[in-house]
């Protein structure tokens, strides 16, 4: 327990931030580990509780004893108070004895101061206190015997004083113890309260953290599910990518083929374009030549037309000449005819002349005939020339037209040639582009095949991922369930812790009240002690025994403190105890007053004792009176014992209360055991080591 306590409240704080999406499986394992550790802690705690219970029982019994002692002390103190008055009265008569008593009291004071200092560190054990009381009593007896040795007559008185002093001392010590224990109780209660608060806070924190954890687990689970879904979609996508890239690969292959065929076509087109261009150039040259030929023809036609015109003119000239010849021929004929007529008139004489005329007329006729033929020929020539001229004119016209047409054809051919040149350059560009295309397509093909391979790998790894994600999702679901359970357990813990806090708060407040009262008591007790100190003489043995007692009481105190801190129910019992203590205090205050008065009386006694030395004669009588007073003292001691009995009853009740607390503890432990939480069990033990240290 002591090992777990300081570390365990911090453990959830340390744990919770570590709980993230990645470490879910680990954290649940941690939780399980912690729960198991808590379970073992609870078991340890149960055993501790058992031991505490037994210790408490022991304490109860010791308390009972203490109560009886206290009761007896109280009774004796009360009795002593009354007897002290009487003693004070009697002391006046026994001055010499009192002087010694005073010195012994001084010694006692010293020893009691030492005892007080030792008691400050030690809680009183009732049993040890009893034994120490007995030792005190024996010391008192020694004192009494020493007093007896000084004054035999004052033996009884001394013993009674010693008894009274012891009783008072015991009372004071018990009061101091009670005060101490109540202080410790208060401190322990405060500590408990604070530790419970811390615990509660830590439980709240743990609760909050487990809430956060559960939400974060929820988020993680959802995000894991989303991740799984996205991984699945990625798997599907990568499958699609695989198919698409395969399609793309086939497409690219087709594209490559297509671009290759395009390239071939382009090359052929280029060749054709070159050939066409050459032919067009040749055609252009031919047309140029024909244009030149046509131009020549046109020139020739023009020339022939002019020649024809000339010919026409000449023919007309010939016609004119021929008509002249005709006229001449006609005249010749006419002349010869007239000559024939004249010759016929001349008769025989004109016969020769008539023959000549005849001859001339024949020539003229022949000439006329030839002329007619010439006329005919010239006429035909004229017609032919006219036709030739017409033909030449039309030929010239046709030549002109064909020249124009050829020119148009030439320009057309030139246009064709430029078009062919352009298309040829375009085709060469296309050829270059298609060459580049083929290279690019090959690259695309390569990259597509790489992509296909990658996509296949991705598909494989993604499907594996999807499987892993599915497992993660399942683990996350389990984690979520675990987180929910942890959260519920934490809530229950928090509820229990809240109740514990309430109880601890009440304990703290009550303990504070007790402390206050106890402080007052302690003051009173100190004063009593001071008074008793003077009374104590040779009580060194008592101190020793008291030291032992104090050790025993310390143990008891430890156990008591543990009990107090562990069980909130103790508070009620303590309240009752406090009440009783208050009563004791009240009684002790009376005692105090009386003791003060006794002190004063003692001082007077010192004076009186001097007087007593002077007048010891009266001692005997007074001793008798003291004996009577002792009887009263014994009576009052009885009453003190009764009161102590009452205190014992109260202790019994405390024990019952402790049992009730034990039961509650068992329940708590049972509750703590059932949700496997460590929180409830831990808070009980938290104060224990502190208590031990303070003790």
């Amino acid at each position: 327990m002591a090992k777990i306590n300081p570390t365990s409240p911090r453990t959830p704080k340390n744990k919770s931030p570590n709980i993230d999406a990645g470490a879910n499986g680990g954290s649940s394992n941690d939780i399980l580990e912690i729960v198991s550790r808590v379970t073992t802690g609870l078991e340890e705690e149960n055993t501790g509780l058992d031991s505490i219970t037994s210790e408490t029982n022991e304490l109860a019994s010791s308390l009972k004893e203490t109560a009886t002692q206290a009761a007896s002390v109280a009774a004796s103190s009360e009795e002593m108070a009354s007897s002290a008055n009487e003693i004070a009265a009697s002391v006046e008569q026994v001055t010499a004895n009192v002087t010694q008593v005073a010195t012994s009291a001084t010694q006692t004071t010293v020893s009691v101061k030492e005892l007080a200092s030792s008691i400050k560190n030690v809680a009183a054990s009732a049993q040890e206190m009893a034994t120490s009381g007995q030792e005190i009593r024996t010391a008192m007896e020694e004192v009494t015997s020493s007093v007896k040795s000084v004054r035999r007559d004052t033996d009884d008185l001394a013993s009674s004083i010693a008894e009274n002093a012891a009783a008072i001392e015991e009372m004071g010590q018990s009061i101091k113890n009670v005060s101490r224990s109540s202080e410790d109780l208060a401190v322990a209660a405060e500590e408990t309260s604070s530790s419970i608060n811390e615990m509660a806070a830590s439980i709240e924190e743990v609760g909050g953290m487990s809430e956060t954890l559960s939400t974060s687990v929820e988020e993680t689970a959802t995000s894991i599910e989303e991740l799984a879904r996205s991984i699945q979609s990625v798997a599907q996508n990568s499958e699609t990518i695989k198919q698409v890239s395969a399609d793309a690969a086939t497409n690219a292959a087709q594209m490559e083929q297509a671009s290759r065929s395009v390239n071939g076509l382009v090359k052929r087109t280029e060749d054709i374009a070159v050939r066409v261009s050459r032919q067009a150039e040749e055609g252009g040259q031919t047309i140029q030549k024909s244009i030149e030929g046509i131009a020549k023809v046109a020139g020739t036609m023009t020339q022939s037309t002019t020649v024809m015109r000339e010919l026409n003119k000449r023919t007309r000239d010939i016609s004119g000449i021929v008509s002249t010849i005709e006229v001449i021929t006609e005249r010749t004929n006419l002349l010869s005819l007239n000559a024939s007529i004249e010759a016929a008139r001349a008769g025989e004489a004109g016969r020769g002349f008539a023959v000549v005329a005849e001859e001339i007329r024949n020539l003229a006729d022949r000439c006329a005939k030839a002329t007619a033929e010439i006329v005919e020929i010239v006429r035909g020539l004229e017609d032919a020339t006219k036709e030739a001229t017409d033909v030449a004119n039309s030929g010239a016209r046709i030549a002109e037209e064909s020249s124009q047409l050829s020119q148009a054809g030439l320009t057309g051919l030139k246009t064709i040639l430029t078009g062919i040149t352009e298309s040829s350059s375009l085709v060469s560009q296309i050829s270059r582009a298609s060459d580049e295309q083929i290279v690019a397509v090959r690259k695309v093909n390569d990259s597509i095949s790489t992509v296909t391979g990658r996509a296949r790998e991705i598909a494989v790894s993604t499907s594996e991922q999807a499987k892993g994600a599915q497992q993660i999702v399942q683990a996350a679901a389990q984690m979520r369930k675990g987180a929910k359970e942890v959260s519920q357990a934490n809530n229950e813990q928090a509820k229990a812790a809240r109740e514990v806090i309430k109880a601890a708060q009440t304990t703290t407040s009550v303990a504070a009240q007790v402390r206050k009262a106890m402080t007052e008591q302690a003051n009173g007790a100190t004063q009593i002690v001071q008074a008793i100190d003077s009374m104590r003489k040779g009580a060194t043995g008592t101190a020793r025994s008291l030291a032992e007692q104090s050790i025993a009481i310390e143990q008891v105190a430890k156990e008591t403190d543990r009990l107090i801190t562990q069980f909130t129910g103790l508070t009620k019992a303590m309240i009752e105890q406090a009440k009783n203590s208050q009563e004791i205090t009240a009684a002790t205050s009376d005692l105090d007053q009386q003791t003060r008065e006794a002190s004063r009386a003692m001082k007077e006694q010192v004076v009186s004792f001097k007087q007593l030395t002077e007048g010891s004669a009266n001692v005997t009588k007074q001793v008798k009176l003291i004996a009577a007073a002792n009887l009263e003292n014994s009576r009052s001691t009885m009453t003190i014992l009764k009161r102590i009995q009452e205190v014992r009853d109260v202790s019994k009740q405390n024990g019952e209360a402790a049992k009730g607390i034990e039961r509650i503890l068992e329940k708590t432990s049972a509750r703590a055991a059932s949700p496997k939480s460590r929180k409830g069990s831990r808070n009980g033990g938290a104060s224990n080591p502190d208590r031990g240290a303070s003790a």
Partner: protein, 161 residues
Amino acid sequence: MNAKTESYVLFELAGSVYGIPSVAVKHIEMFEHVTLVPNANPAIDGVVFSRGQVIPALNLRVRFGFPREKNSLRTRIVFATVHNRTVGLIVDTAREFQNLPTESIGPIEGTLTGINGKYLKAVTKVGGRLVLILDLEGVLNVDDVQLPPETETTPTEQLTT
């Protein structure tokens, strides 16, 4: 020559060949100019001035009832004298002089008379061609022909000549 021959001047008119005795022909001229005379016979184209005489020009085509023909280089005016009266005959052309046997100039058959017996004396053949010999007196009959007043012209021509 033993046989009696008579010389004829042959001329053409509307595709036919006519002949007149060369004795009656003073001379032949080319058709050059005809001076028109008022109120003349339709067959008389006008008067021509030849060898110092004003001679009436008779268009034989019109006289024989043939259609008129435009004058050409071949158109001739044959000056013939009948009963001391000279008349210029406008013919298509006149370019032959033939000595024809007298017996070949026979009278026109009865059948032919019915056609144009008034102006034709005979019809003969020369080298396969039919030649119509004109009866000049008949052709030059003033009343019939309604010649322009020769008397009026003659004195003036005579005067000028």
